[in-house]
Symmetry: C2
Subunit: 318 residues, 2 copies
């Protein structure tokens, strides 16, 4: 049996929307093979679970009386709020009491906490987070890093490319993912110092299928399944895409394709490159988003994604 841990206090609409997500998930997955560990303030969460009529045999509620706010300083908050839902969840994950941990809370705190407690995989220099990229033909690409690593070295982009390739194969079910380098020109030699140096490393790496540079205008095309960039560029792209969706919403433009820019459609993003499955959700996650994140955690475990990562990275020699 797999036990998936969920931070009930994370996100702007917690704990109510987290409870809604739990209900949606359990209704969709009637098999008792997945058990949920719901982590949060008992006094707040239990009444909502009861009210929603959630089957008590499918979960246990783990009391964590403290909450790290969305805008608190990660390191400081983790230290001061030992009994926060984030600290508690990561501790359970480290102890093997749960097999995956999901939080829509303070992203920085989850990242810092994960790096501190469960740590990077041997051989991985910089764990990363990604975003799914909707394409016009209905397929899905992957862009990484989207904000954890603002400054990158060329070797980091190569590691992102390998992690992304394995994610695309196993989770997105892309048979032979092509990797593109986000850049400001098509030919080798174009770009900034980072992309110029990363190009030959990506081209010569035999764990990936490199397809060359991808310009901003080709982000939503099928030129590459996995697109790598530093976290500064990736975060600007991600936030800009979200704002285009918001503007379209405000202007009441309804379109099947652009609807895919709605973060709710995808749920969360796993932290790629740490020793256990950790999934980070958007602060404004709703019930359906939580449901998708729990499902994603299940897939990450079922496909043994992290074992596949481990097989592809050689620990640095001492």
């Amino acid at each position: 049996m797999m036990v998936i841990g969920l931070d009930m206090m994370g996100g702007d609409f917690a704990p109510r929307e987290a409870v809604n997500g739990v209900k949606l998930f359990l209704d969709k997955h009637p098999s008792p093979a997945v058990h949920l560990a719901l982590i949060g303030d008992q006094a707040q969460v239990q009444p909502l679970l009861d009210e929603a009529g959630i089957d008590a045999s499918r979960y246990r509620l783990i009391h964590a009386p403290e909450v790290i706010g969305m805008h608190e300083h990660p390191t400081k908050a983790l230290k001061e709020k030992i009994r926060s839902s984030i600290n508690t969840g990561l501790h359970l994950l480290k102890e093997g009491k749960i097999q995956a941990f999901i939080s829509a809370g303070n992203t920085g705190a989850v990242m810092v906490g994960a790096l501190y407690s469960i740590k990077s995989m041997p051989g991985i220099q910089r764990p990363t987070i990604s975003t799914l990229v909707p394409r016009e033909d209905g397929s899905t690409g992957l862009l990484l890093d989207v904000g954890v690593n603002a400054d990158c070295k060329p070797e980091h982009l190569v590691q992102f490319a390998i992690l992304g390739t394995l994610y695309a194969k196993n989770i997105l079910k892309v048979a032979d993912p092509g990797v593109g380098l986000l850049n400001i020109g098509e030919e080798e030699g174009k770009g900034n110092l980072l992309s110029q140096s990363a190009y030959p490393l990506l081209r010569d790496n035999n764990k990936i299928r490199f397809v060359g540079n991808i310009e901003g205008r080709d982000l939503f095309s099928r030129k590459a399944d996995v697109i790598v960039c530093d976290g500064f560029t990736g975060n600007i792209v991600l936030k800009m895409a979200e704002s285009v969706y918001d503007i379209m919403n405000r202007r009441q433009i309804r379109d099947e394709y652009f609807e895919l820019f709605n973060y709710e459609y995808y749920g969360g993003t796993p932290v790629l490159g740490v020793n256990e499955p950790v999934i980070i959700g958007h602060g404004i996650s709703k019930g359906s988003t939580f449901e998708k994140m729990i499902s994603l955690a299940g897939e990450v475990l079922e496909t043994r994604l992290l074992d596949k990562f481990r097989e592809n990275f050689t620990p640095a020699k001492d």
Copy 2:
């Protein structure tokens, strides 16, 4: 009388669309105060001018028998094609025979040629190009650099901020432009090494009104009138915005606001920080785009924009 030079051979639809632009401009501006120097292959251009019935007293045609292709290597092409329209135009500008030069040709060649012949203004480390940013409320922002300077130092961003402020005041008629730093977090201290270092320099510069960090989601908001970033990030943002417009077009989404993402709406962008007015147009420029670029050149001259740049930059001491 001002003489504005126009490269008739630049752009994917040259010379026909350049001729259309000339006609549109002259029809709109019947006063003979502006004279045009049309630079290109006489055999190709003269018949089109005659066909369009353009008043011969408003222009002179300057024969330039060679054309630098859109994908040629800038430095190589400039050296080999001495009699190209780009070389000829920049030479006339340097000699004072024309007061501004416009080209929708090979952007790299125009930039390199301009830096080589008319050179950077004293005190300006890195000339730059910008793009106009349409905002939901109908106002217009300015983003720079958008591709000339892939790698930047913090001081370059400060210079972009000053150039952008003067451009916004004089050309966009924004009374007191606010300057934002494109970044991946709101607070000081967020971002990559470049933005972390640029923040205090921007904050403490008394030639601009700094309003802080601007995230990707706020690019189309009114938080800042001038947004500065390195050319790598700016180019990705620009191309991505163009692709959103293209996708909307393909999906037949018609919307007044997003229609402003059409590059034709704005025309070209001046090279900011060189000694004479040079305006670069999009390769796919149509007649209306050429018309707007000629008008923009007129405005740059009338507002004495370059003198205002000069007053704000102190040449480096030898």
